[in-house]
């Protein structure tokens, strides 16, 4: 977590870059994007997958990003997770200038600051559930004993029965695999969890359990960003963002869970 001083500096830096584009009510933000763009060249044509996105996300919130297929949701999530480099703009996550990261610093960021959950789980098929959860800690250099202990704890926390800890992903149901994936995302205790359609491959009942788990994570103090079409998640989110053609067209605070329940148009949308 960044210090108040770092937050202040980050805000000052952003204001210098884009002073004319204030975003919604400024509060202590863990994710700050300013003019964030990602363009691809496809068949000689420039595709604006993410186009001048401004957003601020406070910690300990569950945020959903939704929109039609191809609107840039996944690209935005990859930008947030430093899996893609922005073409332009600023991105600060937990005080780290993600756009400026290179090499080892980029690896460190992914290892320490964010955890990923994917629609297709993306577990390593020949490792057991326990080993899959231990993997990020192994990459981080955690001692074997410590990582095994924590992996067991996390698997219990996400509700995977102990007898299944040694099962390989192929022997687990979709819901169980997604639980393992969530446990793996939590392994290095990141501040931000990025989930891409986490319920996309699950039936509604199982999906609901996974959603509950993500909500619970947010309540426990993590920032959870979920790219989804699932209205259940959207209903339970603190904040809902809608993307269209790479731009955020609306950010809604959910009245069920947030105090304000207001809808805030972004600078980009106002234009």
């Amino acid at each position: 977590m960044s210090s108040p001083q770092e937050e202040q500096e980050a805000r000052a830096e952003l204001q210098e870059v884009a002073p004319a584009q204030p975003v919604e009510k400024v509060e202590k933000a863990i994710i700050i994007a300013e003019g964030l763009s990602k363009h691809f060249i496809q068949a000689g044509e420039e595709i604006k997958a993410v186009d001048r996105v401004n957003l601020r996300i406070a910690p300990r919130q569950l945020i959903t990003i939704s929109g039609a297929s191809g609107c840039g949701k996944t690209t935005l999530m990859y930008l947030l997770g430093s899996l893609e480099k922005p073409t332009s703009g600023k991105l600060l996550i937990d005080g780290v200038d993600v756009a400026a990261l290179r090499g080892r610093a980029e690896d460190d960021f992914r290892r320490q600051k964010v955890g990923f959950v994917f629609q297709s789980f993306n577990l390593i098929p020949n490792l057991s559930a326990l080993e899959n959860v231990m993997l990020p800690m192994e990459i981080a250099g955690t001692r074997h004993k410590d990582r095994e202990e924590r992996a067991r704890q996390l698997l219990s926390q996400v509700g995977l029965e102990e007898k299944r800890h040694f099962h390989r992903p192929g022997k687990l149901s979709g819901g169980q695999q997604q639980r393992v994936a969530i446990a793996r995302a939590l392994a290095n205790n990141p501040s931000v969890i990025l989930a891409d359609e986490p319920t996309g491959n699950l039936d509604s009942k199982t999906g609901r359990r996974i959603v509950d788990l993500l909500v619970q994570l947010a309540h426990q103090g993590r920032t959870v960003v979920v790219v989804t079409h699932d209205r259940t998640i959207a209903r339970l989110a603190d904040k809902r963002m809608e993307l269209e053609d790479g731009r955020i067209i609306s950010i809604k605070n959910n009245s069920n869970v947030a105090q304000s329940g207001t809808t805030t148009k972004t600078a980009a949308t106002r234009k």
């Binding site: 996944t74 990859y78 997770g81 899996l83 893609e84 080892r104 690896d107 460190d108 960021f109 992914r110 290892r111 320490q112 990923f116 994917f118 629609q119 297709s120 993306n122 390593i124 098929p125 020949n126 490792l127 080993e131 993997l135 990020p136 990459i139 981080a140 074997h144 793996r184 290095n188 891409d196």
Partner: protein, 454 residues
């Protein structure tokens, strides 16, 4: 260790295919090790052959060589020929090389040692010879062969290059140069009821037996050895049958032979043993070339299989690599993971190679092996021709034929060298073949792969 165990699990993810790859790779590695070993061995054996037969030069009278070609220089049982009156064993004595020529040979630059050869059968029959079995199974009562050697010779060979082993008594000393002393084949001594210290008569001279020896050949077992000066005196011969000169090295042989020809003139045949053994050398060379071709082919197969295995490992694991990178693994960690897997693959293939080498090595050795002595037809021994049996007491190549019988071109067995080759080539190839694919794959953009997988 954890990483290594996990790597083995990864490698064996598609067991049937990977086992097939490992068996092919293991077989290739085994062939590489076997052929490298065979190649090194064949070179060593070629050098050994050069060393043993390649440095000697045989000097004969030209007329003797011509007579040899016609069948003289042999004892014939039941045959007939020029100079042979009546039936029974006959011997065509070669014209002796005078001692003056021996001195000339010794003084030629480059000659490091000489051995004079003088052999005659005891045709008087004063000593009882042993019974020799001819190749056709016929039992022959051959006369005892008497050979003269220099009394100062510490090591000497008998006809056919046979090296006698002293079983009792002593060998010659310098003081025996003109003495009437003899060494005798143990079989002859037994046939005549003699032992060390006994005396016997040969050509009217009484000899004291000072030692008994055995050889691995029935012809030379049926022989006695006396000092060459004594032999000349007793047999009334002024000279020797042939001289074997030794050059310092194989490379100097031709130059020394030329000097000998100049020194001795055209009356003598100066024959390098390398020329006599050209058939052997050619066969060894052909075998070595075949081994080298097999080695290159095995190496190429091993390289292709390794590259295939590496590419397969890497291609199938792109998604996994993307996940590892997403989880924060560095390029180096991904590289290390793959290299460990590739090392695990190679180690398992090497284990298969070791097993194959242990089981198939002798068979491969046999296929590539050449027995150089089998390529020589002019060594000592017995020939059956027509109704008679010929006993060859010496041929041009006889001096070294026995030495060659111990030389075998091929040996492909599991030892420290072949084990190192298997491990070295296996791991070296694997790491080399994996450098580029793993480097590229470690720099995979995770987002691109995850998008494709989604």
């Amino acid at each position: 260790m954890k990483l290594f165990v996990r790597s083995i699990k990864n490698v064996l993810r598609s067991p049937f295919r990977m086992v097939l790859v490992m068996v092919i790779l293991g077989a290739s590695l085994m062939f590489v090790a076997a052929t490298v070993s065979l190649n090194a061995n064949s070179q060593a054996e070629l050098d050994a052959v050069h060393q043993q037969v390649g440095t000697t030069i045989t000097i004969n009278y030209a007329t003797n060589a011509a007579n040899n070609a016609q069948g003289s220089g042999q004892i014939a049982d039941g045959g007939s020929g020029p100079g042979n009156s009546g039936s029974g064993p006959v011997f065509f004595a070669p014209t002796p090389i005078p001692n003056s020529a021996v001195s000339k040979v010794k003084n030629v630059p480059g000659v490091v040692s000489t051995q004079e050869n003088l052999s005659r059968p005891d045709q008087d029959g004063t000593l009882k010879g042993t019974t020799i079995t001819a190749p056709n199974g016929q039992q022959v009562n051959a006369p005892v062969l008497v050979s003269g050697i220099s009394s100062d010779a510490t090591n000497f060979t008998l006809a056919g290059g046979q090296i006698p082993t002293l079983v009792t008594g002593r060998s010659f000393q310098a003081i025996d140069a003109n003495a009437d002393v003899a060494l005798m084949g143990q079989a002859v001594a037994q046939a005549n009821g003699l032992s060390v210290g006994s005396t016997f008569t040969l050509k009217g001279t009484t000899f004291t037996l000072i030692g008994l020896y055995t050889t691995s050949d029935q012809i030379t077992d049926n022989s006695i050895v006396i000092p060459i000066a004594t032999m000349e005196k007793v047999f009334g011969i002024n000279g020797v049958d042939s001289i074997t000169a030794t050059a310092a090295s194989y490379e100097q042989v031709d130059a020394v032979a030329d000097r000998l020809r100049k020194a001795l003139g055209s009356a003598y045949n100066v024959i390098t043993q390398a020329s006599q053994y050209s058939k052997v050398f050619n066969a060894l060379q052909v075998a070595q070339t075949t081994i080298q071709v097999a080695m290159v082919i095995s190496l190429l197969i091993a390289a292709v299989v390794t590259i295939y295995a590496v590419v397969m490992l890497v291609r199938e694991r792109i998604a996994e690599i993307a996940i590892l990178r997403t989880l924060g693994a560095s390029h180096w960690q991904v590289l290390r993971q793959f290299w460990t897997e590739i090392v695990a693959l190679s180690a398992m293939a090497a284990a298969i190679a070791v097993i194959l080498l242990v089981t198939l090595g002798p068979f491969i050795s046999q296929k590539f092996d050449i027995d150089p002595s089998s390529l020589l037809n002019n060594g000592p021994g017995l020939n059956s021709s027509g109704g008679g049996v010929e006993v060859r007491i010496a041929g041009p190549g006889s001096a070294s034929a026995n030495a060659l019988s111990n030389i075998h071109l091929a040996s492909a067995t599991l030892n420290a060298q072949t084990l190192l080759i298997i491990l070295g080539v296996g791991l070296g190839l694997a790491l080399l073949a994996s450098l580029i694919p793993t480097w590229f794959v470690s720099h995979t953009k995770p987002a691109r792969v995850l998008r494709q997988a989604a």
